[in-house]
Symmetry: C2
Subunit: 333 residues, 2 copies
């Protein structure tokens, strides 16, 4: 099948760029040094390539992602790096022989882990991003409570999400060091063998965590492109020009095919004006004059919520569609 | 089933508010005066209520939406108010006895309509929003071309999308009048019996179009709330508080459960700080101190791309879940 035969909009993954990204990250963080985050691609076919590269543990953001990974035979060591209050579906996976660890940051989430049949937890520590995670000075007490409740505490996690897109690498490194000081202090109080943190933005500068929870590096987006890291844009939303006016053109890629939370998408050789539900309006700026029917590749600003809008990723090489990968981890049910 | 038993995040539709919205719009624009736009809810169960209210024609934005509506028995008069280059799926619906009209704004889209077996078109006219639609002075020539190509030209459409959220009603009315002057001029040149335009923002002030393509009124969002129209918020993203810190709390509703393109969502009694993939961080501001496990109702800023992130709408009344409606028109394949 050819790309030109695809119904648009469609998510394309360029095989060579994906291969480059996976191998570059694996070279930097081999084996257990990387715990790939699947929330960025929600695709077990892609996770299998990460597994084949030697990464046996994975990070998930939802119960659904954990279930889909286990169902795909990738349940050796799944970390749900998020707080959940109903862990029964996770407990069933544990009963079936999968290894599932869940993040806890409160007495309630510890109680929920016990109630649902989860046996292993990480203490989630706030390292500066105002989101989940306990205060670092509470981590030891929570670990004690978890152990008294019969849980195994594998260690700590703390996500320095507020530092992922800090532009200057030196500043990113220094801020990450400060954030990780909190996590190391918590780790000393908690014990266990794991210090889990990081993401694509800090993978190279976070030398304090045992394992890095990076996900975006595989497919990439324009927000991460700005950091000048050695990863290539592998994800594109393929569209068609459906209308050409004097001064602008319109592609059939809109808000239902990409997420704007990190800003407007990019089209090489054009200035993007705005996106509507099913449209991107752009002014050609260097590209050949667009004609109705032309294929356009739109680069989204934020990979994770963009992928979540689609049911498939198309693996492509030049004009050829090599494979269709279901986005089989989306939704929550 | 109770709301409290739902897996979160989940999209709730309050039955009473939906009923109020549907009946209020039908009273204002009965029967053929309204051609409800299904892109706002992507749900044939909801479209059936609009049909039962007396609206037999519907507006769609994608081929998939047209197919799903026809498949649900709602194919009496479906307008694809968008340009498409491959109309074969539409042609098959026409062959099966459904009435499908497609928007055209160029020689290429006219050719595509003919090639795929579509028989009826509207000339899409630009009335001020830089998106699709031909220049008004080209509409007559395009209609001639369409008729020479064997198509029936039912009339014109023109979407004044740039005016939907103009705050002052008088200004919205005056600007709409100017936009519709272009459409009426085009209509005079094109002929046919239809002048299709408008949306929820201009439904009350656009007295020039024969039929209004409104969709958002049924479920509503915070952007449209600002206009002070007689529609109630019927759509909520249900979440649970999963983490509470000193000064903020976190609900399990994030970028994958609502769209930020019209801004941050609203939580009554709280100030929303930011959204991450699976989280909304908020500061309580008037609400009772949140506790882990509390249910939270998040009001999205833009209904259409929010619904497209979910596979189901839950119809609710007070604490009860009355029904689960599949979001059966999403995607494009």
């Amino acid at each position: 099948m050819l790309i030109s035969e695809l119904q648009t909009p469609a998510l394309l993954v360029e095989q060579a760029a994906l291969r480059h990204n996976l191998d570059t990250m694996t070279a930097a963080l081999p084996g257990a040094r990387l715990r790939p985050h699947v929330k960025a691609h929600k695709c077990t076919s892609l996770a299998k390539l990460q597994y084949a590269n030697g990464h046996r543990g994975f990070t998930c953001a939802t119960v659904r992602e954990v279930e889909a990974m286990a169902g795909a035979g990738l349940g050796e060591d799944l970390l749900l790096a998020n707080e959940v209050l109903d862990t029964r579906r996770l407990g069933r996976l544990v009963d079936d022989g999968h290894r599932v660890t869940v993040a806890v940051d409160s007495a309630e989430t510890i109680e929920a882990a016990v109630a649902g049949g989860v046996r292993e937890v990480l203490i989630d520590v706030n390292v500066g991003l105002p989101r989940c995670g306990c205060s670092p000075d509470m981590a030891g007490a929570l670990a004690d409570l978890a152990r008294r409740s019969g849980l195994t505490v594998r260690g700590v996690m703390g996500y320095e999400g507020h530092l992922m897109l800090v532009e200057k690498e030196a500043e990113r490194r220094d801020s990450t060091e400060q954030a990780m000081e909190h996590l190391l202090a918590a780790s000393a109080a908690v014990g266990g063998e794991l210090i889990s943190a990081g993401g694509t933005g800090t993978y190279a500068v976070n030398t304090w965590a045992d394992e890095i929870q990076a996900g975006s590096y595989a497919l990439m987006d324009t927000a991460y492109q700005q950091l000048g890291q050695p990863f290539r844009q592998a994800l594109f939303v393929l569209g068609r020009v459906i209308s050409v006016s004097s001064g602008w053109a319109v592609a059939d890629v809109g808000l239902k095919a990409l997420s704007l939370d990190h800003g407007l998408p990019r089209i090489d050789g054009a200035e993007v004006w705005f996106c509507s539900d099913e449209h991107t309006t752009f002014r050609p700026d260097g590209m050949p004059a667009p004609a109705v029917g032309d294929l356009v590749r739109v680069q989204p600003a934020h990979v994770d919520p963009t992928v979540a809008l689609h049911d498939s990723l198309y693996l492509v090489d030049g004009p050829d569609v090599l494979d269709r990968w279901p986005v089989d981890m989306r939704g929550w049910r």
